[in-house]
Amino acid sequence: MAKTFLGYPRENGTVGVRNWVAVVSVMDNCNPVTRAICAQVDGTIAVTTLFVRGQYGRDLEIAYNTLAGMGRNPNIAAVLLVGLEEQTTEEVARRIRPAGKPVEAVHLQPNGTINCVAEGTRRALRLVVRASNARRRSCATSELMLGVQCGGSDTTSGLTCNPVIGRLSDRVVEEGGTVIISETSEFFGAEHLFAARAASPAIAKAFTDMVVRLEREAMSQGMDIRGTNPTPDNMRGGLTTIEEKALGAMAKSGTSRLRGVLSYGEAPSSKGLHFLDAPAPAVENLTALAAAGCQLVFFGTGVGNPIGNMVSPTAKVSGNVNTLRTMADNIDFDASDILEKKASVGAVGDRLYDYAIEVASGTRTSSEILDVRETAISRFAPTI
């Protein structure tokens, strides 16, 4: 029997696990308006950003694609863009429209802050009323796109939360769904094992090329990356090298074949396991996963990193007994039975799968409820 969850079917065949109206800043100078509208209107989420203005070339494309990708995410019922002027706003709007959802916009020029907030608040109100007509229905789990991430890792991550998330990944892929793993630098030392799982030599090469390119870029700075990755808290948690961290991090991907490789700002065009080339820090990486279309992210943590994403509900999994005690408010799923009670990864992973279906069906995560959520789009070049 096909496995199901309760989701929001969308016009274009995708399924949301949440039903929000996204108020999206087209550039950084719009953030105050975005925040003011969201403070007034229940049922909205604020997707703010830094820069965009002054960016050009590849960076500007990445910024437009990432903002639009978050707008297209199936968790979003409708989008209200907050722009400074119409031309830039249109660059984002035209990338969201093919998803078939309402896309509206308000502008600071020539209306000014107060009028823009007022007009945006009215529009957001109407969009939320319309969005609230949607009802959850039984949907196939093959419609799920799961992002997997780790942050605030320690040596328990590779022993508990990451392999348990790997079991969840395998279940989602077995049921015809999609899983995205990213954090390119966290394959340094494990890339040979992951490349061996590629469905074709071309996919293996595309993945390996991304890892090699990033390592070369980092090395061109003339420094040891240790201290940045692994971070000081990773090392305090017992992780000694990036190789050790990578071997534990890769466990989140489970055991299935690697079906595709994506650039930052890109979305998968097929099901199964994908690799996304994105920087490892949590906020930036979660943003890339949300823009790729992940409806939810499962995030393994050892020493603890509470941050989540606005668009993709982010569930924290830890198997570190100390963190589960000191940061209990921030952790959604306890995987400590593996070390404390010798429970199998498979058994705890199957429990995590059941929990993931509940999250997909509406159970809220700590990072959503506490609103510990942030957005950051990668920037690779200076602004001008």
């Binding site: 061109s220 003339g222 017992g238 000694t240």
Partner: protein, 96 residues
Amino acid sequence: MPRAIVLHRNDNVATLIDAGRAGETCSLQGESAAEVKLLQDVPFGHKVCIRETPAGADVLKYGQVIGKASRSLKAGEHAHTHNVESARGRGDQAKR
């Protein structure tokens, strides 16, 4: 008695899942059932060397190379950043 996990039979380090004190005997689990006497305090989650490892030799965990010993390691020694070096992302060692 503090516990430590050995993930692969070839590994020369084990990961402590309790905090260990110098002089305590640490019981190994997983791919080994031996014991090792801790020569130093080893915090929760940190690694202990379980086999003599000469300077420059590979340090193995998960049966994979996680770095090189930057000096010789004795069984029972805390194995971490002070005596294990990464081989990756080493721009500081790159030829200019």
